[in-house]
């Protein structure tokens, strides 16, 4: 009951925030927080629930970003559909990657995803006829779209805010569904002990492929959005190891295998990061690294996990007090 109220309040805040606070920096900050929530949630499905720590999620982000960009620039496909197709392309790319990397376990899986991501980045850097290489792709205008008869002003950040807010909701709902259904239980089982999971008849390959596909789809969509929002992509901006690591950090700091974790992680890290970006470029990564070390050392369950345990303790105390009274 309490939860529903909280969620409704959250939705209302999400809906009216850009109308109340009109500072462009703040709107930009919220867009970044939401985008990183999607990316963190995407990583969390594979890395948190299934326990497959990927160091190569930038591949899917990049695939989505480039697909959306190339479709718009050379075929004139609207980014609306482009973003969605970007997600599909990311899923298609994820299948052979899963085929290769899922043969490996634990840290070996992580290293193999790192290698795949580097190969993909090098291909994107050198396949100049498709990606324009290190020069990158740039768009100057976005298509005319009207909403209730009013043309959308792409120069303002507010429409982007609502688009990413919807994508974020979809990402969180997908995570919730995963956590509540059989697939989620399979994933948790194989995370804890893959051999036992197999021996009780779980098709762990299938379960991991499903997790990877969902994860890639979300990362691809976020990538498409990223490309449209920045209006520029180049291989180092969307395929770098750094991006994969940032996604991982947001999920870990927020709380692995929780629905709200990535949101908390993104709020904490991105807010800190963006406020420091003003003063020095890439200074935010210093904090990311620092928080990562703190999180692994002092709260391996992440911020969300820690809050949950604190709440449980409080509730327990209350119950005990009632009992004695």
């Amino acid at each position: 009951m309490k939860k529903t109220v909280l969620i409704i309040i959250g939705l209302i805040v999400l809906g009216i925030a850009p109308l109340v606070v009109r500072s462009p920096f703040f709107v930009h900050l919220m867009i970044m927080v939401l985008m990183w929530t999607v990316l963190g949630a995407s990583w969390n499905i594979l890395g948190g629930y299934a326990g497959q720590v990927s160091f190569g999620h930038a591949t899917f982000l990049g695939a989505g970003a480039y697909t959306t960009m190339i479709l718009y620039l050379s075929c004139g496909v609207d980014p609306w559909y482009g973003i969605f197709i970007g997600g599909i392309v990311a899923v298609l790319i994820s299948l052979p990657i899963g085929f290769i990397c899922f043969r490996l376990r634990g840290p070996y899986f992580s290293l193999s995803t790192l290698a795949v991501a580097e190969i993909v980045r090098l291909v994107a850097l050198n396949w100049e006829s498709l990606t324009a290489g290190p020069v990158g792709l740039l768009i100057t205008t976005l298509p005319q779209v009207s909403f209730f008869g009013k043309a959308i002003n792409w120069e303002s950040k507010v429409p982007f805010y609502y688009i990413i807010a919807i994508i974020t909701l979809i990402a969180l709902i997908i995570t919730y569904i995963v956590s509540r259904t059989r697939v989620g239980a399979y994933l948790l089982a194989l995370r804890e002990d893959i051999d036992s999971a197999e021996s009780i008849g779980i098709n762990t390959v299938k379960a991991r492929v499903v997790a990877l596909a969902l994860s890639a789809f979300l990362a691809g969509i976020a990538g498409g959005f990223y490309a449209m929002y920045l209006r520029y992509v180049d291989p180092d901006a969307v395929f770098s190891i750094g991006l994969s690591v940032e996604m991982l950090f947001i999920a870990v700091v927020g709380g692995l295998a929780t629905v709200g974790g990535p949101l908390i992680g993104a709020i904490v890290l991105v807010t800190l990061g963006e406020s420091f970006r003003e003063h020095f470029l890439s200074g935010h990564l210093i904090f990311y690294g620092f928080f990562m070390m703190l999180a692994i050392r002092y709260m391996p369950d992440g911020v969300w996990g820690r809050i949950n345990t604190l709440f449980k303790k409080l509730r327990l105390k209350k119950d005990v007090n009632h009992g004695t009274a």
């Binding site: 290293l111 790192l114 795949v116 580097e118 890439s282 692994i296």
Partner: protein, 288 residues
């Protein structure tokens, strides 16, 4: 024919330094099961140490290595004692994530302090390459090659012949049994992390005159390092040496006969193939 010999030679020269870095990573993994994502950043710090020693105090890199290696050894031991020790029991994935955090922290701190400018070290005696038998050999790389072999051989001697070295290898093979034989595992771990860091940093000092310096250079180096140690078998010192030389040669042949832009990709493709088909390394000696 000449191009073949030329690329073989430059491959082996670079490979010797790769081997030195790889040995550092592999002994750390062997003893503590840490996949050290920050290893490349230790190399980066070594490169910058060498650069600053030359610019500020006018000390040649091949001289300054004499004091940078012990400094790195101490820093490595302190890093282990105060940052990593509590994390190691939590498992390989946690240390992997933790060192990834450390790596990001160190490289971006360097980016903040030293900016992202590309720097180079210019040595007066290094302008013209040596030309034995018509093959160009850059002088700094040749000296670095000699020193890398010397240091790696010293380490190898230490591991094989001394009591402490034996204790380290014992801990790597069977920690429980080693502890029962009276080996102080905690001490060995600290020592090994110090040694690994010293090797990485030393290789960085030696590499500095031959490569561009920039704060995120560690990212690509650490990826290469994983290729090397997986090629040779994780945890195996001989394997890492062979893997390092092999990667150096493959890269330099690839740059000539395949394509320059894809030379880094070749290493990763081999890496994936080895992981898939021979997870204990080409020589089958590693731990899987």
């Amino acid at each position: 024919m000449e191009t073949l010999v030329q690329s073989l030679v430059s491959g082996i020269l670079t490979g010797s330094l790769y081997a030195m870095i790889g040995v550092g990573l592999t002994i750390i993994f062997g003893v503590m099961r840490i996949i050290n994502m920050a290893h490349g950043d230790m190399v980066m710090l070594g490169m910058y140490s060498s650069f600053w020693a030359l610019t500020l105090w006018n000390i040649d890199p091949f001289v300054s290595i004499v004091f940078w290696v012990p400094v790195a050894f101490l820093i490595g031991m302190l890093t282990y004692r105060f940052l990593l020790k509590k994390i190691v029991p939590a498992g390989e994935l946690n240390t992997l994530l933790y060192t990834a955090g450390l790596s990001l922290f160190v490289s971006n701190l360097a980016l903040l302090v030293w900016t992202g400018d590309y720097r180079t070290i210019k040595l007066d005696y290094a302008v013209m390459p040596l030309r034995p038998f018509g093959i160009a050999v850059p002088i700094p790389l040749a000296i670095a090659f000699g020193m890398a072999i010397l240091i790696t051989a010293l380490l190898y001697w230490f591991l094989v012949k001394t009591d402490t070295g034996r204790a380290i290898r014992a801990t790597s093979q069977e920690p429980m049994a080693a502890a029962l034989m009276g080996v102080n595992a905690a001490q060995m771990e600290m020592l090994t992390f110090g040694l690994g860091t010293a090797l990485a940093c030393g290789a960085g000092v030696l590499l500095a005159p031959s490569l561009y310096l920039y704060p995120t250079v560690g990212e690509i180096l650490v990826a290469k390092c994983f290729v090397i140690v997986v090629l040779g078998g994780l945890g195996s010192v001989q394997g890492a040496i062979a893997g390092g030389l092999l990667l150096g040669v493959v890269e330099s042949l690839g740059a000539v006969y395949v394509s320059v832009p894809y030379k880094d990709a070749i290493g990763f493709v081999i890496f994936l193939l080895v992981l898939l088909f021979r997870p204990s390394g080409l020589f089958g000696v590693g731990k899987s």
